[in-house]
Each structure stands twice: as structure tokens, then as C-alpha cells.
């Protein structure tokens, strides 16, 4: 009872087809009961698999590996050590970050959270380190496609620590980095593409909240408590509106 188009329909459902092939499959689906049933079964199984365990490395294992890699790093300095590893390490880290951001298949939230985690993994989540907004804002002018307002909210508990640029939505987004206690908050800004922003979401423990303001799209990404991230966003909105 399986249709000979089964694998092609599966590729369509897995998002592997280009627009032309996808349209052909959609035309086929209108007249094929077997493939319609396959679509439904695919959706059901996909939903069921969302409940399967995603096993993460334990902190213990992470520490164990970190330790054994530290031994390797000492033996071979300047290798795979990110920002502290000198230009070579930095280039590798930057290359990886770019790759992670550009390939993210599952949408903007994944791209942002991955970019944020990747930056944290490098040890330094910023390219320009400064607590002075007079330093960070001009840096964006040469390194990002937009120049969002930059304000330090130190008095309110969010300390400006620097900025970087990440490729988001096909642009060089300006990313302003804040510290909040032990947490890092990344404020992404890019030119409004005219498209609707995704709903606020949480991935891997990181929250991503979106809004539009003036001609910019904003996203705040952090693993801090949702309430505190909301407070931060309120500060940014108020400050941006005042500028």
C-alpha cells in the first residue's frame, strides 16, 4: 500500500526539497491517499519523538573532558583555545561561529541561542570589550550593518561588557553583551526585514525574547530568569525610545 513516491514524500516532510520539487510533491499529495496517510503518520511520529530523551553531557563528564583537554593544550599551546589561543585559535573560533550561525536549520531562535552559546564557549562573548557605550557604539559602525543604541544599565544590575557582530537573518547583526550576576545577556539587533519575528521561546535553557522597535528587530538571549530578562528588555525599550 506504500506509494513509490514514499521516499520523495519523506524528503519533502523532512524539508529536504527545493521549492520546485516541493510543489511537485504537493501536487502528487492531492491525489494519493497512501502519501496523505504517510504525511499524517510522519507528523504523529515526529510529535512522539519530541518526547524522547535528549541526553546531555553531565557536568562531571564535561569537567573530566575539560581536564584531559587542558593536558593536551599545555602540550600544544595555542591550539583550539579560542580567543586566548592567539590569532589562529581566534580564526578557528570565528569560523566555527559563522558556520553554526549560517547552517542553523530550525529557525531564528536556534541561530541566536547557538550563536550565544558558541560565544560563551569561546570564553569571551564579545569582540570589543568595553563598559563604555562611547566605545561600543562606534565599533558597531565598522563591524555590523546596524548601529543600535548602546546604554549601560549598571545601576539596574545589567553591566555593559562589550559587543560583537554575528551573522543573523543574512545580516551582520550588532550584539551588545551585558553581565547580570553570573549570567550573560546578549542583545541582538538587526535591520527589520519586514518579516514577523518568531514567538518568544526557550532552547537548551536559554530564553530568546523578540521585539521590533523603530526600524530594528531585537532579540534578548540569556539563561537568566525570565522575569529578569523581561526587566532588562523594559530598560532597553525605554532607553531606545528616549534616544
Amino acid at each position: 500500500m506504500n506509494c513509490e513516491q514514499e521516499l520523495r514524500v519523506q524528503a519533502y516532510l523532512d524539508g529536504e526539497l527545493d521549492a520546485l520539487d516541493a510543489a511537485a510533491v504537493e501536487a502528487h499529495l492531492e491525489n494519493c491517499a497512501a502519501c496523505q496517510a504517510q504525511c499524517e503518520a510522519h507528523g504523529d511520529l515526529h510529535a512522539a519523538l519530541a518526547g524522547a530523551d535528549y541526553h546531555r553531557a553531565s557536568p562531571l563528564l564535561r569537567a573530566r573532558i575539560g581536564k584531559s583537554l587542558d593536558g593536551e593544550k599545555k602540550a600544544r599551546p595555542g591550539f583550539w583555545t579560542g580567543v586566548s589561543g592567539g590569532a589562529g585559535g581566534m580564526a578557528i573560533a570565528a569560523g566555527l561561529a559563522l558556520f553554526f550561525v549560517t547552517r542553523a536549520p530550525a529557525g531564528l531562535t536556534d541561530a541566536l541561542v547557538t550563536a550565544h552559546m558558541q560565544a560563551l564557549d569561546r570564553g569571551k562573548p564579545f569582540m570589543v570589550a568595553s563598559s563604555d557605550h562611547h566605545t561600543v557604539k562606534p565599533w558597531f559602525a565598522g563591524h555590523a550593518d546596524v548601529s543600535p543604541p548602546v546604554t549601560d544599565f549598571k545601576a539596574q544590575g545589567f553591566t555593559l561588557v562589550g559587543g560583537r557582530s554575528d551573522r543573523i537573518a543574512g545580516q551582520r547583526a550588532a550584539v551588545t553583551i551585558y553581565r547580570h550576576g553570573l549570567h550573560t545577556v546578549a542583545l541582538f539587533a538587526w535591520a527589520d526585514t519586514g518579516k514577523a519575528l518568531p514567538a518568544d521561546a526557550t532552547r537548551k535553557g536559554y530564553h530568546a525574547y523578540y521585539w521590533k522597535q523603530a526600524d530594528l528587530d531585537f532579540a534578548a538571549v540569556s539563561d537568566t530568569a525570565p522575569g529578569e530578562l523581561r526587566d532588562f528588555i523594559a530598560l532597553v525599550k525605554k532607553s531606545a525610545a528616549g534616544e
Binding site: 514514499e6 521516499l7 519523506q10 524528503a11 523532512d14 529536504e16 503518520a41 510522519h42 511520529l45 515526529h46 512522539a48 519523538l49 518526547g51 524522547a52 530523551d53 535528549y54 541526553h55 546531555r56 553531557a57 553531565s58 563528564l61 564535561r62 573530566r64 573532558i65 575539560g66 584531559s68 583537554l69 593536551e72 591550539f79 583550539w80 578557528i92 566555527l96 558556520f99 553554526f100 547552517r103 536549520p105 530550525a106 558558541q118 564557549d121 537548551k204
Partner: protein
């Protein structure tokens, strides 16, 4: 350490054993680290997961040589509960058990596609199989899962 969770998730689903997964991931991260100079591709995640998979196959080969415990017995021992019916409402548990039961060649492609959200091309890179084989294994794996889940309900 980029992709450590992905590496661990794959190792756990391949071995179905936390301690073995720990060892395999540690081995794989060290190998990846040492081999990174030679890595010139643009896809670090498939590259790392391919190393994890190789480490798993090496460990499996060693284990097979050492002990004559049939794989089937290990699978049964790893199954969560004999009173599966009581827990029929627990969907997470059911899908976990069904996935764990799947033969490895199908389990790995389903995990890479559905849990890691990798493309066919990336899965082919991890498993070393042609894309056509990835597609047919995915279809077969999904069909087997459906049968397992349906049988579970009766």
C-alpha cells in the same frame, strides 16, 4: 566544547548505557581535539559525530571480542520495565523504549534526523552511507517505530 551535548546524546542512544557513553565521548573529544589541525571541512558537528560513531564501533568490537554476551540479552536488560502496560500512558517512556529497541543502523539515522535535526547530507557524512541509503533507513526506521508504538498500545 562545541557540540558536546550532541556527541553525548548520540553516544547514549548508540550504547544505551550512561557509563559507556561517558567513555566514548571522552575518547571522541580527545581524538577530535588531536585531529582538529587536519580538519578542513566546514561542518564541525557531523565531523565530531562521525568520530563519536567510530569510537562506539571500536568499543563495540572490543566488547564483542571480550565477552560472548549476545546483544539481544543486553537490549532486554536495558529495557525499562516489564510492566510496560501500567506505564502505557507515559508517552516519553514509550517512545524511549521503542527507540532503544530499534536496530542500530535505523536508530542512529532516526536520532540524527529527529533529535539532532541534521540534514540527509550531514547524516550521510556521519554514517558514511550514501544519501539514498540514509533515506531508506530513515523510512524503514520510522516504519519500525510506528509498528512498535502501535503494538505497545494493545
Amino acid at each position: 566544547m562545541p557540540h558536546l551535548d550532541a556527541a553525548y546524546n548520540l553516544a547514549r542512544w548508540l550504547t544505551r548505557n550512561p557509563a559507556e557513553a561517558d567513555d566514548i565521548v571522552q575518547d571522541a573529544m580527545l581524538r577530535a581535539f588531536r585531529a582538529f589541525d587536519g580538519f578542513r571541512g566546514d561542518a564541525a558537528k557531523p565531523w565530531l559525530l562521525a568520530i563519536v560513531r567510530n569510537c562506539h564501533l571500536n568499543a563495540l568490537g572490543q566488547k564483542k571480542r571480550q565477552a560472548a554476551v549476545p546483544l539481544e540479552d543486553q537490549i532486554v536488560a536495558g529495557d525499562p520495565t516489564p510492566e510496560g502496560h501500567v506505564l502505557a500512558a507515559d508517552d516519553g517512556r514509550r517512545i524511549n523504549a521503542a527507540l532503544a529497541k530499534l536496530p542500530e543502523e535505523f536508530r542512529e539515522v532516526v536520532v540524527l534526523r529527529e533529535l539532532e535535526e541534521m540534514s540527509y547530507r550531514e547524516i550521510a557524512d556521519v554514517t558514511g552511507a550514501p544519501i539514498g541509503t540514509v533515506m531508506s533507513r530513515l523510512a524503514r526506521g520510522r516504519a519500525l517505530l510506528r509498528v512498535e508504538l502501535a503494538g505497545d498500545q494493545t
